[in-house]
């Protein structure tokens, strides 16, 4: 049986108030060890206040070939950014 440790994706919260962000991956036998390894590999210079580890196999990703159908529809929704609308200056701050 292969003894290769499974792969984990590592997410670090850099500072209080920020989201956890994906920083990379590593191998570990289980979740507890993955957290310990993540501390050593990804926070040697105070880069984090919290760590999430997720088995890489548990991640479902959108496929690159779906890029068009998934993301192009929002291109035409030019009214979503507030700058689409001209509001007269007299109205004041809005």
């Amino acid at each position: 049986m292969s003894s290769e440790w499974p792969l984990w994706e590592i997410f670090i919260r850099g500072q209080h108030g920020l989201n956890h962000r994906h920083v990379g991956s590593l191998h570990a036998p289980d979740a507890e060890m993955a957290v310990k390894h993540a501390r050593d590999v990804y926070t040697r210079r105070n880069e984090g206040v919290s760590i999430w580890v997720v088995p890489s196999a548990a991640i479902t990703a959108s496929s690159p070939s779906e890029k068009g159908p998934l993301f192009e529809p929002s291109n035409s929704k030019v009214y979503r950014p507030p700058t689409f609308f001209d509001i007269p200056e007299e109205v004041g701050k809005m």
């Binding site: 292969s2 990379g24 036998p29 289980d30 060890m33 690159p64």
Partner: protein, 325 residues
Amino acid sequence: MYAQMVKSEATNEDPEKLAAFQARIDAGEKIEPKEWMPEGYRKTLIRQIGQHAHSEIVGQLPEGNWITRAPTLERMAILLAKVQDEAGHGLYLYCAAETLGVSRDELTEALLSGKMKYSSIFNYPTLNWADIGAVGWLVDGAAIMNQVPLQRTSFGPYSRAMIRICKEESFHQRQGYDIMMKMAQGTPEQKAMAQDALNRFWYPSLMMFGPSDKDSVHSAQSMAWKIKINTNDELRQKFVDQTVPQAEYLGLTIPDPELRWNEEKGGYDFSEPDWSEFFEVIKGNGPCNAERMEARQKAWDDGAWFREGLMAHARKRAAAKVAAE
């Protein structure tokens, strides 16, 4: 460099797909693991990133040699942190290579069987404390020359690994130069040790960039794919131009009687290293090749029970958890 003489793989695929791929690279887009890429691009990257990763890992050995013999507790802590960083660099790079469909164990086995290489520089011994200064100053200095432009490489995971690595590297070079300053300002014997370390590490450091590749088809392909950014000669010239004034500040002499400033090209003229020595070292006949491979093989073999044991423990705990639910 950490990846020397990486041969590019030929690609015979749909010309239309190839052209579209090249257009993405030319436009500065990053290629991500699940996206279509030419087989040659994928294989060349596995070879290059793998060799780079192996170099980080094997590169811990010459410096690890001096951790327990550092002159002060502070120097020991600093060197330990530096060597630990190198382990991290190896891990970032292995993970980047794995996104291309090669496993960690396959990469390790390819290193141990001699199928994959690591940088020639780590086959030279570190004989005394001054060598630790010279390694940080020159070897990490040469690595930085190559790694800074690679932050812009076209393959996303490789580029991100390089960005992390570059953030940590200048600590490495500075701690080395700091050791050299201390030695150069010390007793005449200490200064002589610093000079001797420079004498021994100068040409092996120049070899890190690899032989001239201005006419190499492999390099041309890698440069078109943006997995190589500069020619070996460009990087070597930059390294010499940057390092000579640093040696002057230390009051040390670069061991090259031909070294002189060339006003016209705005850089130094310097002697080439002995390339026959370089080819011997990468063939396995350097002063420490056998020792380095033995150390890696021993670590792999001695660690097997530990890797398997932790995995067995994890499986048992997972099974117990399921049973309890």
